[in-house]
């Protein structure tokens, strides 16, 4: 393992056993993160972002969740093989997590100061006084006056509660912070404060960050690397510049053209037709083919491999080396099926795609 790597996930597969069948939440995911690096994990509901994070923390609810296979190397050991006690030491001290909803992740009957001090005392041998002093320090670090140590969560606003949650996560100075949609529940002006805080803390503490979000704006501001997930698989990975300026995967291209721009004047959005596939019944081959305007018969055969299209820019699409690089504006306009659901029933494979035309365009491209 490279010395520089803090975290390396190899072939992680996580499933949930439900009454309706097996949910393929994370499929054969491999990712790595260097020390001090920040990674944006992007995808829509059900893409497997949160399950991946819970996998790293070894917190996948079991039952129904099962980690089928893979490795998570962190500081020289496989987190999936650690004993419960050892894993507990890693959580909070080495890796900590900020959850999406600041309203439910705090204990309502315990003062915020005590909640911070508690996590410090679990991991470090400090006296109560020292732990409380540390709690006051981290509160001030996240911009909350230390006098508010003895207040309860309901006395804080949403933005401040999220800062308290971040303070708890940072109290033990972890090497890796996983933030799961930390600003989704907040208003934009408050979101700006929290993002500013995270950016500063990253600089000061040199810790690594995995930011889980569906907001490509937030990623552009906070992260250096981006991983885009679709139906439990990594479909594109690269630097900010790779992903934003040289978008390759048809799904990533679709995501960008779905966002109304704040400085452009587009009259109409170009959404991705159809819906995310049912994770119980993923389509054969590339999971995106039923919605993809470049799908061919070959896409249905096997899951495409990740291909390095430029140095360290990885894309999971069979057309990348064949048809050359896609540019954002090359997305075909003919599939603007925003109005009807022609390609939505992903459960059945009765989707009609005019593959002859696509083959043609691919051959000519």
């Amino acid at each position: 393992m490279n010395e520089n790597k803090l975290l390396e996930i190899k072939n992680l597969t996580i499933q949930y056993k439900t009454d309706n069948g097996l949910v393929h939440a994370v499929n054969d995911l491999s990712l790595s993160l260097k020390k001090g690096e920040s990674l944006g994990l992007v995808g829509e509901t059900g893409a497997g972002k949160t399950t991946t994070a819970l996998g790293i923390m070894n917190l996948v609810p079991d039952p129904p969740g099962i980690i089928i296979g893979g490795e998570i190397q962190f500081e020289g050991s496989d987190l999936l093989k650690l004993s419960k006690q050892n894993m507990r030491k890693v959580r909070g001290e080495k890796i900590s997590m900020v959850f999406q909803d600041p309203m439910t992740s705090l204990n309502p009957v315990m003062t915020v100061g005590k909640q911070i001090a508690e996590s410090v005392r679990i991991h470090e041998t400090l006296s109560r006084k020292e732990a409380e002093q540390r709690a006051v320090d981290v509160l001030e670090m996240v911009g909350i006056p230390g006098e508010r140590f003895n207040e309860y969560p309901h006395q804080f606003s949403g933005g401040m509660r999220q800062r308290v949650v971040i303070a708890i996560a940072l109290a033990c100075r972890p090497d890796l912070l996983i933030a799961d949609e930390p600003t989704t529940a907040l208003d934009v002006t408050i979101q700006a404060q929290v993002l500013d805080l995270i950016a500063n803390l990253k600089k000061e503490q040199q810790s690594s960050l995995i930011m889980i979000t569906h907001d490509l704006g937030v990623v552009a501001e906070v992260c250096e690397k981006v991983a885009i997930m679709y139906a439990g698989r990594l479909i594109e990975y690269g630097t900010l510049d790779d992903i934003y300026n040289h978008t390759r995967h048809p799904y990533s291209i679709g995501l960008f053209s779905s966002i109304p721009s704040i400085d452009g004047d587009e009259e109409r959005l170009r959404p991705i037709p159809g819906l995310m596939p049912d994770p119980i019944n993923l389509p054969k081959g590339c999971s995106f083919w039923p919605r993809c305007n470049r799908a061919t018969e070959n896409c249905k055969r096997a899951v495409p491999a990740l291909i390095e299209s430029d140095p360290d820019h990885w894309v999971r699409c069979i057309h990348i080396d064949k048809a050359g690089f896609f540019e954002k504006n090359a997305v075909s306009k003919k599939t603007d099926t925003s109005r009807n659901e022609s390609i939505t029933h992903t459960k059945d494979t009765d989707v009609e795609i005019d593959s002859s035309k696509l083959e043609e365009s691919l051959a000519s491209g």
Binding site: D196, S338, H345
Partner: protein
């Protein structure tokens, strides 16, 4: 183009044990037929209450609502029922706004039954339901499904079909795409634009998402603590803001772009309480441009230029003052 809806000095207060909440406090605007007014603001600014009061789901405390020239602020029961055919609402949460025990078809049919459309002819009503499902892009085979069997995007399409069932002219859309993923959100926004064009619908579009509101609106009003602080054409707002709150709000949006640098205004402090607010500028405590006068009296909405209205003591009628960047900014660099 004729004005379809005009609101004058609308107020909606709620009495609570801790005081009177001024949810909507003196809002005035007008919308032309076939156009969209976007209402933006952060949580608690009164934008949903405004929508509900305009559509008469709530009784206004004071003020006038003129719909098609008639004052509808205190209608009789019959008048209100007739109004419901003209004005409809699309709700934010497609998970809680549909009755879980009604099928898609029954949900869309219900308003037609209540208003005895087609003289109560059930066959005609059913046909109309299927047509509506086509209109909003719901496959006909889903007619007998229940909401829990469908995803958020489809549920929102049901909400839209139900709102269209009575062929209204005016629809209040309260955060209709906020609960949806971006790829589905774009589908629904396109659908709403198509419907507006086809049926000449007039929308009030309430949202906290500034890029969505810019995309869909003709005119935007920015609300802060129950009041309109700035109102203008949607494209103008994103080029030039004359209210310090709009200036800060727009600077706070994270841009999905790489290689851009810009200044972000960081607002200190939190939104003050809407309970019994003092008669001063409600933004003054967070405002980086605040002057003594801002803490003494309330600013009025003035017309600075070209249909651009601002409520700020720094702005004078017909004399727009270009706000400088405040000192308290951070540089945001998307590498």
């Amino acid at each position: 183009m004729s004005t379809l809806l005009e609101v004058r000095d609308l107020k909606k207060y709620f009495k609570t044990p801790s005081g009177t909440v001024h949810a909507v406090d003196g809002v005035s605007f007008s919308i032309e037929e076939g156009k969209t007014l976007g209402v933006v603001g952060e949580s608690g600014c009164g934008k949903s209450t405004l929508g509900r009061t305009v559509i008469r789901l709530l009784q206004p405390t004071a003020g006038a609502i003129l719909y098609d020239g008639r004052d509808i602020s205190s209608p009789s029961k019959e008048e209100l029922k007739a109004l419901r055919r003209e004005m409809q609402m699309i709700f934010q949460d497609p998970f809680s706004s549909l009755n879980p025990r009604m099928t898609v078809k029954d949900t869309i049919l219900e308003p037609m039954e209540i208003h005895r459309l087609y003289d109560g002819d059930r066959t005609k009503q059913s046909e109309s339901v299927l047509d509506l499902m086509d209109t909003v892009g719901l496959a006909r085979r889903l007619a007998d499904s229940y909401p829990h069997e469908l995803d958020g995007g489809r549920r929102q399409r049901i909400g839209i079909a139900r709102a269209l069932a009575l062929e209204p002219r005016f629809i209040v859309c309260d955060e209709p795409v906020s609960a949806l993923d971006v790829s589905i959100q774009a589908q629904i926004l396109n659908l709403m634009q198509d419907l507006q064009e086809e049926k000449n619908l007039t929308y009030i579009f309430i949202t906290h998402d500034l890029s969505v509101v810019k995309h869909i609106s003709d005119k935007i009003c920015v609300m802060y603590l129950g009041q309109v602080v700035e109102m203008c054409h949607s494209k103008t707002l994103f080029k030039q803001q004359y209210h310090p709150y709009s200036q800060a709000l727009l600077s706070a949006i994270p841009l999905p772009k790489v290689g851009v640098t810009r200044k972000r205004i960081l607002l200190r402090g939190e939104i003050s309480s809407p309970i019994d607010p003092k008669p001063i500028c409600r933004f003054a405590s967070r405002c980086p441009h605040a002057k003594p006068i801002c803490f003494e009296k309330e600013p009025n909405l003035v017309h600075v230029k070209d249909q651009h209205y601002v409520a700020c003591h720094l702005q004078k009628e017909g004399q727009p003052y270009e706000l400088p960047l405040p000192e308290d900014t951070v540089e945001i660099e998307n590498k």
